[in-house]
Symmetry: C2
Subunit: 456 residues, 2 copies
């Protein structure tokens, strides 16, 4: 397929490049889309349009901190216009892309006219995935958007408030039981943050309940936490979580979720857990855009809905359409698709931007290649596991590395100083100022835990 | 009425004080209720229960900064449990007080049992007031709660987004026209913040519209802005706002508000203004608790729904029920009620806590007396008006005073460091990181400005 890469320029744009700028349309302002847009920063004769449904870029790796009251939404979200406003060749459009039209070379917004492109970069990311049990979503929200995080935050803090008022000990324990489903990085981070919250931040806040009686359970279907990490780091993560007070159950599947209980299966053993708060961190699939792309271009999707891409991240028969980030299935050497993590999306965004600029000059570039500089997951306030491939860290040193990596990435936007201050403040005072219960009907607190829960 | 003050102790509690702690119930965790609760901090033989519908104290004077994207909700809200957790005699209850029962000496929660009291402090504050035009609320939201502020923020930023996409110049100008109704401190601060936003923060963010074409209009029914301030400060405020780009129209009333237009009257002159965003900062009335108190105790309310209180802030025939803050009508020497501002509520909260503690010891204390240390209002990024009664400031020196006063008050809770950092950051970079469009259906951006608006 390398012939794709040696083609001088996107065929449609070639005849016109002398007259008007090459129009690049990017759909999605996550890590992939934003890094692609930024990589056109100094490009002349290119006109970039970044389209997103939201007016901000979200730093998703820290979303669990919003959900557990450590950070405010504004700390991890940067307005796209603000991030890109010095880039005069770039326009941000708030809009919902509902279709693409490769014949006319335009993307179709829900309302309004089509937006024409010469090159199209689709980076709409992933959505949560309940493996055919979509009805679980209302009982077990996952955390993909800011609104998800605020809803989870509301549930967590309302659960403690309800427990403080509950006189029945069985019901009270169910309110003080939190189940996190999924032992990947998100689940591990969430369980660790919950343990910090219950056993240290909130420990003096209540008069009736003792927050040390909070039960936090993390279940994972595989035989260890953090499956992509080396085995010793998985073991260390499980160990650190247990020290924090989290009960870790591997080789355990959720078989049913109801309003106040969950059924679990370990091997042949079935059990029931009474809990009012279940958080879903188990499954991710590609966004709905994958299917649209497949329908319109004849591309194929994998089972998770990701679009199979060529070595240069374009579609086989549409060399001017690129899929990057969590929406793309890119098979590296070993035929395993690249993981759905921020560094992959960022590198792919930069790569495609570079490819398009080289194409315009008639220069070929080699296929995309992911440089994996390692992975990390934080476990509560003081511990983390870090795998840099050539060296591994655990415990406090890993936590410091984790902190610096995240602050380093946030440096590129506008929030670094605030987040760093807030973290340090929270670290020294063990206080979390953002543990607010908010939402449109948040003052109707008493209905929430009586009979049925409201859902967003 | 001074005989109330010489009575040795609350009659109901007196016979029991030797057996069990004196039960103080405080309804409302605003400035009045929170300061009252904190003033019981070192009290022994007193058991305090603070009840609020929300789990946080809100620093309302800075709410307009959340509405205009300068601060995040978490920056100006402190969890009540966190603020009070070191006070072992104090219990926080998340609940909605729907009634009081002076016979049984208990407050009634929406669900759950009554909460018994020996002394009751009601501090439920105010609500916005449309002077009989409640149907205006959906077109012209006011800013009393965090959710209000987020909804206003959503409307402001969506208006710019919609304008960026609008091709019809008349409609586009309506989207870029913001009307603030009410020339009190909130209206002045909001108009100034909008001017900063449109003319400096956002100035490089758009490609189609020029945000300098934004129109910001502040209307006030009286003949000058900030009526409670000295006249020269009012003139200075109007002047400063005009320099920022705000059009100030005094002696102007709103007579009708529709989805996309407003009718105004100045004297005999009627005019129509095309605008998609109207913000209400005109009227405040007491919360609904005023009527309940009047019904249950025979107390009288003034026209704004505030409860008339005795010189010691108790109710005439119920010496163990106290009304403080915006809900109270306290006539000082000149028979004018005290203004609905934070310092009044704070001083009243402290006073009542002191009174109750002295009563328990059989000691009388003199009537409440408000020490007015001045008032201030900020106008945009660099100017303010400050009246300390013995000296007045305007411009930048006043702004510095305003900044320090607010940081000083926030010092008492847990957010000072963050807010100060964020302010300084925003001041130096002219960037406002919290200008996010959020909400449950915030991704349905395109429906919002087509035909009808959604309301919270």
């Amino acid at each position: 397929m390398t012939q794709l890469l040696t083609r001088p320029a996107a065929q449609s744009a070639a005849p016109e490049t002398s007259n008007r700028p090459h129009r690049v349309v990017i759909v999605g302002g996550g890590f992939g889309g934003l890094y692609a847009a930024q990589s056109f920063g100094r490009a002349t004769h290119v006109e970039v349009t970044l389209i997103d449904r939201r007016n901000f870029h979200l730093f998703q790796p820290l979303l669990y901190q919003v959900a557990t009251g450590g950070l405010s939404p504004g700390d991890i979200a940067s307005p796209l216009r603000g991030v890109l406003n010095r880039q005069k060749n770039t326009q941000v459009l708030l809009g919902d892309v509902v279709d693409i039209d490769p014949e006319q070379q335009q993307v179709v917004l829900k309302r309004g006219k089509g937006v024409p492109y010469d090159s199209l970069i689709i980076a709409t990311g992933g959505a949560h995935h309940y493996f055919g049990n979509d009805h679980w979503e209302k009982f077990a929200p996952s955390i993909k958007t800011l609104e998800d995080a605020l809803e989870v935050r509301r549930r967590i803090f309302l659960a403690f408030e309800a427990a403080e008022k509950e006189t029945d000990p069985v019901k009270r324990q169910a309110m003080m039981t939190f189940l996190v489903v999924g032992g990947g990085p998100t689940g591990v981070e969430l369980a660790g943050a919950l343990a910090d919250l219950a056993y240290s931040t909130l420990k003096s806040d209540f008069r009736t309940i003792d927050t040390h009686e909070t039960k936090i359970i993390l279940v994972e279907g595989m035989d260890r936490l953090l499956p992509p990490f080396p085995e010793d780091l998985s073991a260390n993560a499980a160990d650190s979580l247990q020290k924090l007070g989290v009960e870790v159950r591997t080789q355990t599947m959720v078989t049913a979720i109801e309003d106040d209980r969950v059924r679990l299966r370990s091997g042949d053993e079935e059990s029931e857990l009474l809990t009012k708060t279940v958080l879903w961190a188990a499954g991710v699939k590609a966004s709905g855009m994958g299917k649209i792309v497949a329908d319109r271009t004849g591309a194929t999707c994998d089972r998770a809905g990701r679009v199979m891409v060529a070595p240069d991240l374009s579609l086989p028969d549409h060399p001017n359409i690129f899929i990057i980030g969590d929406l793309a299935h890119y098979a590296h050497q070993d035929n395993k698709p690249l993981p759905g993590v921020a560094p992959v999306a960022m590198q792919q965004g930069k790569y495609v931007a570079k490819l398009i600029q080289h194409r315009l000059k008639g220069e070929p570039i080699p296929p995309f290649r992911y440089r994996d500089s390692g992975s990390l997951a934080v476990i509560g306030r003081n511990a983390a596991v870090v795998n840099l491939n050539w060296i591994k860290f655990t415990g406090f040193p890993a936590w410091v590395i984790w902190l610096f990596v995240h602050v380093f990435y946030l440096i590129e936007f506008d929030n670094k100083l605030i987040v760093m201050t807030q973290w340090m403040w929270g670290y020294f005072t063990r206080n979390q100022g953002s543990r607010l219960i908010t939402g449109r009907d948040a003052d109707k607190v008493e209905e929430v835990y009586s009979g049925h829960r409201r859902h967003s």
